[in-house]
Amino acid sequence: MSNTNKRYFYFLLILIAGLLPVVFHDQIFLIMLMYSSAIYTIAVSGLDILFGYSGQISIGHAAFYGIGAYTSAILSTRLGITPWITMLLGGILAVIFAVLIAIPAVKLVHHFLVLVTIGFGQIFYTFVGNAKQLTNGHTGIMNIPYFKIGSFSFNTMISYFYVAFFIMLMFLFIKHKIIKSRIGRAFIAIRENPTSANSSGINVRYYKIMAFAISAFYTGIAGAMYAHFTNYISPSTFTFSQSIIFFVMLLVGGKGSLFGPIVGVVTLTVVLQYLQALSQYQSLAYGAILLFTVLFLPQGIVGSVFISPKKYFISKKAV
């Protein structure tokens, strides 16, 4: 597909996705799925920058999701600051924590890095559950304000969708720009061969930390949006399970691609709708899907389906 045709195709996709809620405006459930998918897509795209592009694993991203959510919730409910700003602050605070963790952590080998991220996730969860003065502990924070522009309040599901959709498009565009740039190439080099990246002039440590920072920003913003749409947050959302969900969505959809996260989010959301009736089987299903994907489909759906034959031709003389 030529570049111009590609652009028309994307434009069409965006148009269709954008118009769906208008057409099906009375299908509340569908609209809810759509806006939650948009939020998840942002969060998972962030995780993709970290894992799919710079090759670093995090199974603690629920913490960044939570930092975004809690920061935005606390600042908007206690200080009355407008959600747009508190959302941004939430993202920034997530970045700050990510950098603080990343600075000592990026030198660690895979398995230990995973452990640090898991530990960080646990620490965050324990903290918000216990710091009652700040976070209301397990009771949670209620009456989180809606996004507003002037006197118009974004308080219906359709409005949630459009906010999330618009921000998602922006973030996907930014991700695309980053990937195609010198920064993106640095990330990929680190993923493919850190030694070679280093001698090619890339400050591996610096870029690893940057990947963490960008990743946390995306997920933090997603968390803040979540807070202002559901108007109530509690520690129970920001658990290890949530981190796993993000990761499974990324892996199933296809890491290291723009569409992978979208595909993964939608696929898993749909699959889990079918399991709604059997809600106690949900987690088991996640585990099984993760195992299956790891064993048989590590490139994810996007990675397996969209292979260009020319690219995968291995020369007969290859050693």
Binding site: P104, L108, V116, T126, F240, S283, L295
Partner: protein
């Protein structure tokens, strides 16, 4: 009071130690990391409970059956999951992810079968507590100690003195050289996974008679066993024991004298601190750092 805390700390410490030994054993033998130890711990506890409490099999027999079962389950995991990934030359991260997936599946499977409530172990001994000096101890605690010590001793003898143990150590140090000497490296790797699972099972049967069992009981100890292994030097057997005891003592005394809500917080904090400052742990493990 202190003595009571100490006993509790040592009991938990031996649980963490057995889990930590499992982690270090697998790492030493195959350089792999596993996240399913905690859930094998849980599985051992639950299966042992089922045999003893529901099928009314005498405890000793239930214990032995559980350990054997756990051993074979460990072999099964290695054969059906780990080996497939290693054959595909998948990146280490995928092995880690597969064990995380298994962990999730085990937990939820047990929850579906046994429910989500706490499962209590019926008493094993006729007496409900033994008095040593001015302190009263639950006999299950003493039994737990004994089981831990015996297991560690057997493990030590097996690894260092038996022919198989030597083969295992050889395969761990240099798989290629070992293979040329006729050692079946994949067999030694499988057995390592089997032993680790069995150790987790023992830990489960130390823990649950005293503290009860539930489908989530493995999450925290699993991570703490891991922490114990890291603190002592990941891959180092003696380090695993020392690190775990250190962790449990710190934890118990923090909970006793500061706050119990933050107990987990402290453990993870220590873990992260060690990883940042001295990832090689107390005994300077050969951590393949970047």
């Amino acid at each position: 009071m202190i003595v009571k805390n100490l006993i509790g700390a040592l009991t938990i410490g031996s649980v963490y130690a057995l889990l930590a030994l499992g982690y270090s054993l697998i790492y030493q033998a195959s350089g792999l990391m596993t996240f399913v130890q905690g859930d094998l711990f849980m599985l051992g506890a639950v299966v042992g409970l089922a045999l003893y409490a529901y099928l009314k099999i005498p405890f000793i027999i239930a214990f032995v059956l559980t350990i054997i079962g756990m051993f074979f389950f460990g072999l099964l995991i290695e054969k059906c999951v780990i080996r497939i990934l290693l054959k595909k030359e998948a990146a280490v991260i995928y092995v880690v992810l597969s064990t995380i997936a298994l962990s999730i599946m085990l937990q939820n499977f047990v929850m579906l079968v046994w429910g989500s409530q706490l499962l209590f172990f019926p008493p094993i001994f006729a007496v409900s507590n033994i008095k040593i000096g001015s302190v009263s101890i639950i006999p299950e605690s003493l039994m737990g100690f004994g089981m831990a010590l015996v297991s560690m001793l057997l493990l030590h003898i097996f690894i260092n003195k038996s022919k198989f143990g030597t083969a295992m150590r050889a395969a761990a140090q240099d798989p290629m050289a070992a293979a040329t000497m006729g050692i079946d490296v994949s067999k030694t790797t499988s057995i390592t996974w089997g032993i680790s699972a069995a150790l987790a099972g023992v830990a489960g049967l130390i823990f649950s008679p005293i503290y009860a069992a539930s489908f989530v009981m493995g999450v925290s100890p699993g991570l703490k066993g891991f922490a114990g292994a890291v603190i002592g030097g990941y891959g180092n057997m003696y380090g695993a024991i020392v690190g775990s005891l250190f962790l449990s003592l710190t934890e118990t005394f923090v909970a006793g004298y500061i706050s119990s809500g933050y107990k987990d917080f402290i453990s993870f904090f220590i873990l992260i601190l060690i990883l940042f400052i001295k990832p090689r742990g107390i005994f300077n493990a050969d951590v393949l750092g970047d």
